[in-house]
Structures are given as C-alpha cells and as structure tokens.
C-alpha cells in the first residue's frame, strides 16, 4: 500500500441557511483555498472526487454544476459518489493505491436548509415496506436511542453530557454553528422532542461544504511540512431493516474500526460523525475508545451537520488537530443511512 496523506483541508463556516450563495459560489473559495494550501499545482492534481445527494439539493444531477467550481479545463479525471464526501475520499484513496495518480481533490457539499431534511430522509428507507409508513430521520433515531436506553448501554444523562460537551467545544470552533455553555442537568429538564430525544440530542440543520487535497508518498512530503497520514481506512454496512438490527450497537463500525487498525496504537482524539447524542456513545463503544480519548473537539455533528459533508468534515477536523500538534494519532468516522447503517473509519497519524 502507498502512504497517502491529507495535505490540505478547508470548509465553509456552517450556517443554518446560506441565503446568498449557490453551491458553486460556496465551493469555489474553499476549493481554491485547499489547492493553494496543498502546494500541488491545480493542473497536476491527478483525480477529483465529490460526494453529494440530489435529494438534498432538490434537483437531478446537482453534482454536475459543482464541477464549475473545480476548474475542469482542460478536462479532468473525475468521479462522484451519491454519498457523504468521506466515501469520495475513499474512492480517491483507492485511485491513488492503483498507482494511477499521486494526488486528488475531494469535496462535498450539502444544504439541508433547502428542504425538510428529516422528511426527505424518509425517502432513504425501503420504498415498498417502510417509506409508505413515513418514518422521519428523528423518529428513527429515537427508536435507536430507546433501544440503547432500555438495554442499559447509556442513560439520558450520558446523552445530555455529550450534547453539553459538544456545544462547549464548538465555542472554540469558528466554523461551528451551534455553540454555548449548557448544564446537563438543565438540559434534562427540557421537554422531549421525539421521546426519548430532546432538542439538544438532535443535530442542527446546516448548510456547508468541505474540500480536501490528499497526496501519496513524496508528493505529500514535498508539498507539505506536516502531512497527516491515512494509516487505515475502511467502511462497512449493515442491513437496512431496523427490526433485524441490534440498534444499540454498531457492528459495522466495530468491523471497519478493526480493519482500519484503530486498536493498533493509542488514540489521542476521535472525530465521530454522530448526528444524535446517543450515537456518539454507541460509536465510542464500537470503536473501543477509552475514556481518555478526546471526542469531537470540533463540536462534531451536534454543532454542525451539513448532510453529505459532515462525514468528510470529521476527517478534515481530525487532520487539523494533528497538523496543529494537538494530537499524534486520531480516529475519524463518517456515517450514512438510517440509525448508523453504514460506517467509515479512518485512522490518521502525524
């Protein structure tokens, strides 16, 4: 396997509603920023891969216009996944492993504000047996939380503490959307939104985009003072049928974590894509993270959750922690599908 590193990362500030700029106008400055920072001339970047969803964007082929922000002239080698940008990163990493290219631009964008996200995500469920029942994303997450509470895997207090910590950490992240000091006791007194979830257990609706440049071996070493090496990356999937799964656990995360080599060294920080507070607790257990691992110093998805981009943002935020010297080894995670159906784990080292 070739050594591949994150050599530049940038994201837009996450906001509730991006009222003025369209997707291209959001992407152009951050793509420009990562390309500049990477030190690899734009024309020499070997591959480009993006992640986004037409149902979030509200139109077919929404990724096509995003190409306008890349500078695809002369034509570029390019691909797109209808998935979170973390999987676009995976495709780019594979392309580099093939030896075909030495560097890649990865980006993703999501504007959850455009539609009614929780209801739109209903369309992600089995169209014959589940979607007609209309389960929205928050209700499905609530089923999962209930399952974990009843199994004694975590408590409502644990969930409130995750929310309070996430939003406190977000105070020091200028690109986060929801930040503030909250007392877990006070949070527990607030009413249920969809029992057993309270508002603080749920992610904000966010508009945002992220971009990253990765490179192999000497291309990374020559371009960058502090490459952040991807030591392992793997992703796994579970069945779609909620009734067939133990929702309080995440075996696909555990398997991806094992394959990515999470346990092969001390983990300093973890950026986990947990849109709902209880999901962080499930993921922490699945990855076997000790209590001294600092989780989501960025504030995580509870502070900003641009759908289709929040997973790539976890890998980007983790790489920033290493590049900035706050950590030597980090675990980053991305999720997709109802109740953590699909999970990607990436191990990063300085």
């Amino acid at each position: 396997m070739r050594d591949v590193a994150v050599i530049a990362y940038a994201q837009t500030p996450n906001v509730r509603t991006e009222r003025t700029r369209n997707e291209v106008e959001m992407l152009m400055p951050i793509i420009d920023e990562v390309v500049q920072k990477s030190g690899v001339p734009r024309q020499e970047i070997g591959f480009t891969c993006s992640g986004s969803s037409d149902y979030i964007a509200g139109q077919c082929f929404s990724f096509v216009m995003a190409v306008d922000a890349v500078g695809a002239w002369p034509p570029i080698m390019e691909s797109h996944v209808e998935m979170d940008g973390a999987w676009a990163l995976y495709e780019a990493w594979i392309k580099i492993q093939c030896g075909e290219v030495d560097s890649a631009l990865v980006f993703s964008f999501g504007r959850s504000s455009m539609g009614e996200t929780a209801e739109t995500l209903t369309l992600q469920t089995d169209p014959y047996t589940m979607a007609p029942l209309g389960p929205d994303a928050i209700s499905m997450a609530a089923l999962q939380a209930r399952s974990g509470l009843d199994a004694g895997v975590f408590s409502e207090r644990d969930m409130a503490e995750v929310a309070a910590r996430s939003r406190r950490d977000a105070l020091s992240n200028p690109e986060a959307q929801l930040a503030g000091e909250f007392d877990p006791e006070a949070l527990l007194k607030s009413p249920y939104l969809v029992s057993p979830l309270r508002a603080h257990d749920c992610p904000p609706i966010s508009d945002g985009a992220a971009a990253m440049v990765i490179a192999a071996d000497d291309t990374a070493r020559n371009a960058c003072d502090k490459p952040v090496w991807i030591r392992g990356i793997d992703h796994r999937l579970e069945t779609h049928q909620l009734g067939s799964r133990d929702l309080a656990r995440s075996p696909s995360t555990a398997l991806a974590g094992e394959k990515a080599g999470v346990g092969q060294g001390k983990v300093d920080i973890a950026e986990l894509h947990a849109p709902f507070s209880h999901q962080e607790l499930i993921l922490k257990q699945a990855l076997g993270l000790d209590d001294d691992v600092r989780i989501n110093p960025s504030g995580g998805a509870l502070a900003a959750n641009p759908i289709m981009s929040a997973g790539l943002a976890r890998i980007g935020e983790a790489s920033r922690q290493i590049a900035g010297g706050a950590a030597q080894r980090a675990v980053a995670h991305a999720t997709s599908g109802p109740c953590l159906q699909q999970n990607l784990v990436c191990v990063l080292e300085g």
């Binding site: 969803s53 390019e78 691909s79 998935m83 093939c98």
Partner: protein, 386 residues
C-alpha cells in the same frame, strides 16, 4: 497498476419497458445472480459491492443502495454508490476495477440499474425551478441541437442517422436480452417514423427500459483460476469537463477526445481502428455513432459518418460498433454504461452468441453522460496486458 484485474462474470437482466414481475430488489438480484453463476462464485466469495445508477429521483428513493444492500450480499462488506450522470454504468465498473487493481480486494461485485417504470424520468429531468421556465425537452431536446451542429460541420448525408438506427436495430434482433426489437425494421420504417426533436426521429432514439447489469471483477489469481475465459482489463479512463463554458465545443468535446487518447496510451494502442476489434459505445440518438467515431479517434474529424456509410461499423465491417443493438435498443439509463462495458467483455470472452464477432481479442466499452461532458471507457482483451 498494483494488480491485474479481469471480468470473470457477466450478468444482465432481461430488459423491458416495465419489469412489473420484479421489484428493484428482484431486478438487481437477477443481474447479480447471473453474474455470480457465470463466475461460478457464491455471495460469500465477494469482498465488496459497487452500485451505480442515474439520479435517485428516477425511482423516487434516496440512495437506494442502502435498502438494496442486503439483497446484494453487502451486509458486513464495503459498499460504494457511484453517480456520474449517464456515464455512471461505465464509471461504476471502473471504480469496481480499481478496488481490485489497487490490491485492496480480490473479487468485487458491481451492479448498475434503472427501473424507470417506478417513476418518471422525464418528470425528474424537468423539475420546475423558480426563475427559469423550462424549454429544453428532456435529453432529446438537449442533444438534437448538437446533432444539428454536427450535420452543419460535417456535411454528413441526412440519412446517416437512419442508417445507424437500421444497423443497431438489426443487431438487436440477434441479442436475446435486447428490449426493443422490430423484426420487420427497414430503412423506410425509420425514415417515416415521426420527428420528435427535429432532426431526430422516433426510431433514431432510445427506448426507456427497466433493467440491470452486473459484473464480477477478480484479480489475476482468480482470473486464472476461472473456468470461463476472463476479459482482462487493459486500461480504464474517465474524463469530465464543465457543462457550459465560453468556447466549449459541445459537438466534439475535448473530455471525450482526451479520455480516448489517454485510454489508448495506457493500453499501448497506437492505431485504435486497426488494433481494436469491436466497440460497444453509448449512442442514445443514432447520430452519435458518427460523432463518437471521430471523438474516439477511429475516424478523422467530420468524417465519422463515412464509417457508417461504408459499412465499417456493421457486424461484418472492419470495426463493428454496437453489436448488442446498443442503447438505441435497450436503455436502462443507469445500467446502460455498464451494459456497454459488459458487451465488450462478452466479445473478448467469446460469450456474445449470435452477435459475436469472430476472433474478437480486444474491445472498447464506452459511456458518456451529462451534456456530453462525462466520459468513461475501458479496453478489455483476451490476454493480460504485457
């Protein structure tokens, strides 16, 4: 490449306007099971799954691979979902190949599909947006003006498109899986069919199909162990350019020209017309055959139509094109690119039945999408690349 990769299993569904006998699950399962049977493998032998299809709104399901995962044996495995507009079937096969070529996996299943009868693609392509009245009537409305541009530039005889359509429709009669079959098709029937998007006639366009295509791609070890001949992947390439920009040549896009040139270079091909035995390319409107003959460097610019006219692209020509009957006969959008790649593989494996080109050793699979801006291609052969 870190590893050689080869197609060791091919499976396609029967294609029809409405496959009401199966759900989306049944449809992809039909293709995947046929590919696994062809490869003499079981679900447990597969390391990873790659799914491709065109816009989610075509079926009304967001990221449908999530609910299809179990039926594709994806539980506990890595699964990717590719979407690169009309070229997606080709790009999906390329991503699957790269999982093997990188050395990360040994055997990968890839499936591309569309079940257009479960929703309405024309609707999905014409979603009413504020500020802008829609004037472009679906894909035909977009591509017909480009065809007119090509006719103006090349001075091609006006019946070129009819000749291409006749050839492809006759080829489809030899393909048991093809969707649209017109047993008594002839020149006049096509010529007299209604003009839909002038200059494009009804029988010069593709149907709307339900269907799926699946491939099993294996590394060298598994390819050599397979009992059926493998189709060795010599080269793959993808290129993209933006939809609209000042000075863009939409008729003869540079992304296609460069994609093909790069592909041939990787495959060690100097004279594509001589060295490639047959080509299965993405021709949703008949006029795109001559246009792509030029774009693929088989003919000089503005002379692609001569290949059609001289019969070079017929089954008995020097470069048979669209032996299967092509997209003109079968178009399950998301699957269409992969069907092209599959047909190329079937030819070099000697699997193509009545539409087999005798002695085909090296074949091109081609797909394109968006506003003629996304290209994906591969070269497969009966022997590994030296």
């Amino acid at each position: 490449m870190a590893e050689h990769a080869a197609v060791i299993g091919v499976g396609q569904t029967d294609f029809d306007a409405k496959r009401e006998d199966v759900s989306q699950v049944g449809l992809i399962r039909e293709a995947a099971e046929r590919a696994l049977a062809d490869a003499e493998l079981d679900w447990a032998d597969i390391d990873a799954v790659v799914v491709g299809k065109a816009p989610d709104m075509f079926e009304g399901v967001m990221m449908p691979e999530l609910f299809l995962a179990e039926a594709l044996g994806g539980v506990g495995k890595p699964m990717l979902r590719v979407h690169t507009a009309g070229s997606v079937g080709g790009s999906t096969a390329i991503v699957a190949a790269s999982l093997v070529q990188s050395g990360v996996h040994e055997r990968v299943l890839t499936v591309a599909y569309e079940k257009q009868s479960e929703s309405n693609a024309m609707w999905a392509l014409s979603i009413k947006m504020p500020f802008t009245p829609i004037m472009v009537a679906g894909a035909g409305g977009f591509f017909a003006p480009l065809i007119r541009g090509y006719m103006e530039r090349s001075g091609a005889p006006e019946d070129t498109g009819i000749r291409v359509a006749l050839k492809d429709r006759l080829n489809a009669l030899k393909n048991p899986l093809a969707h649209l079959k017109l047993p008594d098709v002839n020149f006049e029937m096509i010529q007299n069919s209604p003009m839909l998007w002038d200059p494009v006639r009804y029988l010069e366009t593709c149907p709307s199909s339900d269907g799926a295509c699946a491939l099993v791609i294996g590394n060298e070890k598994h390819a050599r162990a397979a009992s059926a001949p493998p189709a060795w992947i010599h080269a793959t390439n993808m290129k993209t350019e933006p939809t609209m920009f000042a000075g863009r040549d939409q008729v003869m896009p540079k992304a296609g020209l460069e994609c093909a040139a790069g592909l041939y270079k990787k495959a060690g091909i100097q004279d594509p017309r001589k060295e490639i035995d047959c080509a299965e390319i993405y021709v949703p409107f008949s006029w795109f055959e001559p246009m792509w003959m030029e774009n693929l460097h088989f003919a000089p610019i503005n002379e692609g139509w001569k290949m059609t006219y001289e019969g070079a692209t017929a089954l008995d020509g020097d470069l048979p094109v669209n032996m299967s009957g092509g997209v003109l006969s079968t178009n399950a959008i998301g699957a269409s690119g992969m069907v092209r790649f599959a047909e190329a593989a079937m030819q070099v494996r000697g699997q193509a039945g009545e539409h087999q080109i005798d002695g085909a050793k090296k074949a091109l699979g081609h797909a394109y999408g968006g506003g003629s801006q996304y290209f994906s291609m591969w070269i497969v052969a009966d022997q590994p690349l030296q």
